[in-house]
């Protein structure tokens, strides 16, 4: 009897110690350090602050290369833009430091909740870095508009428009190559349609902004296919393909108000 009791007691102690050790381990695993928090923010930018700062400095210089593809910059213009770029970097790291402070203030009662909260803090900053901190609304962008002469601004705008046209044409080609699979388009049909899209894109007064360009362009492509199919002298599609085009007509009609709002159709 005593032996049995002793055995039961030993087993209970052993199991208890396992549970205690495993709980302790879970807690340890769930706690994250400031370095780990930083690595979430900087995961695509070199994993730490120093490398991230270096990468951002390089991106300022890359902005000069981008602008100089349209128009040459003077040294004083570059200095001004560099200063604006430094301002954007400072603003970004101010937000990083705020997030760090919030992270450090977190109570360590429920570790899982803390991990989620910490991720919510880090994630927008990480996305901001990925998308680039010198884009729309940045000091760099504002300074670019400010320091450029009218001619330079015009040249930059023209180049941006041209680049957007090219990107839209390439999107059109990808669109045709994928719908070609379902509609069994021949290469000849695809090339004809590509030519048609190119003409239409050249006629566009403005090009959909990068943000949301894919859905707007997709609607335009479908609308152009429908227009082409409805041409009296159209022989671009056979009867079977026409059924698909007719099916897409509703989609095209639904998109017209949105396209009008953006000034892409009359």
């Amino acid at each position: 009897m005593n032996t049995n009791k002793l055995l039961t007691w030993s087993l209970a102690t052993f199991l208890g110690s396992i549970v205690a050790v495993s709980t302790h381990r879970c807690e340890a695993q769930n706690q994250i350090s400031l370095a780990q928090f930083d690595s979430w923010i900087f995961q695509t930018a070199g994993r730490d602050e120093e490398q991230c700062r270096r990468g951002l400095q390089n991106k300022i210089e890359l902005q000069f290369v981008r602008i100089e593809q349209s128009t040459p910059l003077t040294e004083s213009q570059k200095d001004c833009l560099r200063l604006a770029g430094q301002g954007d970097i400072k603003r970004f790291f101010d937000r990083v430091n705020q997030a760090r402070e919030k992270f450090l203030r977190m109570e360590h009662k429920d570790n899982n909740a803390n991990i989620n909260e910490a991720y919510q803090l880090a994630s927008p900053l990480q996305q901001e870095l990925s998308q680039g901190i010198f884009g729309d609304g940045s000091l760099m962008e504002k300074a670019t508009r400010y320091v450029m002469t009218d001619d330079q601004t015009q040249q930059i705008l023209e180049r941006e428009l041209e680049q957007s046209r090219v990107m839209m044409e390439l999107q059109g080609k990808v669109f045709l190559s994928t719908i070609g699979r379902g509609m069994a388009l021949t290469a000849k049909q695809q090339r004809e349609l590509q030519g048609h899209f190119q003409k239409k894109i050249q006629q566009l007064g403005n090009i959909p902004a990068t943000e949301g360009r894919s859905s707007v362009s997709g609607s335009l492509f479908i609308m152009w296919l429908v227009e082409l199919a409805n041409d009296d002298d159209s022989s671009h599609f056979d009867d079977e393909q026409m059924v698909v085009i007719k099916r897409l007509e509703n989609r095209a009609n639904d998109a017209i108000p949105m396209l009008k709002l953006r000034g892409l159709v009359k």
């Binding site: 695509t44 890359l62 990925s130 999107q171 990808v174 045709l176 021949t186 090339r191 698909v244």
Partner: protein
């Protein structure tokens, strides 16, 4: 009196003897006993193994390819019937496409998934085209087959160019590459990235927040070290190609039974 006694005795004996059993009845009984014993000893007979069925979402892709064959080769009704039969056989042989084991899978390997999330081990469109290329010469005249080969290769080229052009332009835009770098990158994609698929590129056109994971050995050939570092700073994600979507973009004709 004696005779009556004997007759009663005979009747009594007759009543006691069992009814005569025919040989057929004996056989039935033996079989029943055998079955009863077998039920106790033997396991339930296994139903015949079910033939694996290829995923349903592949059917529209095969139908579309058959429409393409019909359009470019103009086969006779009999030829088309035989082509459809071969396509059916080929589809049934595509059950192995669901095997998720892919040798040499890397971060940049393009992944294909069915509507229920099934992982495919290869590009189904390419597989269907390769299969078609295999059985068509047996069913078409040489002239018809050459037409298919030519049209198919032009279509392939259009698709590869579309994907390569877009990706080269995307990298150029993001990293401000020179014209010659863009041209070289396009060439590298066209020549050294045979798995590049325009359907995969669509995923990145629709999700501009992310950039694709481009094999680093290809980027190294064109980009400077600084440019490679800059490319790594963008959010790189490998988005799977989802099959079975956009049914409205497919022809209605269903060749397969």
């Amino acid at each position: 009196m004696v005779t009556r006694r004997w007759s009663f005795l005979l009747l009594g004996l007759l009543a006691l003897t069992t009814r005569p059993v025919s040989s057929q009845e004996q056989r039935v009984q033996a079989v029943q006993e055998f079955n009863a014993l077998n039920q106790l000893v033997a396991e339930e007979p296994k139903p015949p193994a079910k033939k694996p069925i290829p995923p349903e979402f592949l059917k529209p892709l095969v139908n579309a390819e058959l429409s393409f064959v019909h359009r470019v080769c103009e086969p006779t009704e009999e030829q088309m019937k035989a082509i459809v039969e071969s396509a059916q056989d080929s589809l049934e042989g595509m059950v192995d496409i669901l095997d998720p084991k892919v040798r040499g899978r890397t971060a940049s390997t393009i992944q294909y998934r069915g509507l229920d999330g099934q992982r495919l081990n290869q590009n189904p469109v390419r597989r269907i085209r390769e299969d078609t290329m295999e059985y068509l010469p047996l069913l078409l005249s040489d002239e018809q087959y050459q037409k298919y080969k030519q049209e198919s290769s032009q279509r392939e080229r259009f698709e590869q160019e579309a994907a390569s052009d877009y990706l080269a332009a995307l990298v150029t835009y993001k990293l401000t590459l020179s014209k010659s770098q863009q041209r070289k990158l396009r060439e590298v994609f066209l020549e050294e990235w045979p798995d590049l698929d325009s359907q995969w590129v669509v995923a990145y056109i629709d999700n501009q927040r992310f950039v694709p994971i481009i094999p680093s050995n290809l980027l190294r050939k064109v980009l400077t070290t600084e440019q490679q570092v800059a490319w790594a700073s963008f959010q790189q994600v490998n988005i799977s190609v989802m099959l079975g979507q956009n049914a409205e973009l497919f022809l209605e004709k269903e060749w397969l039974p």
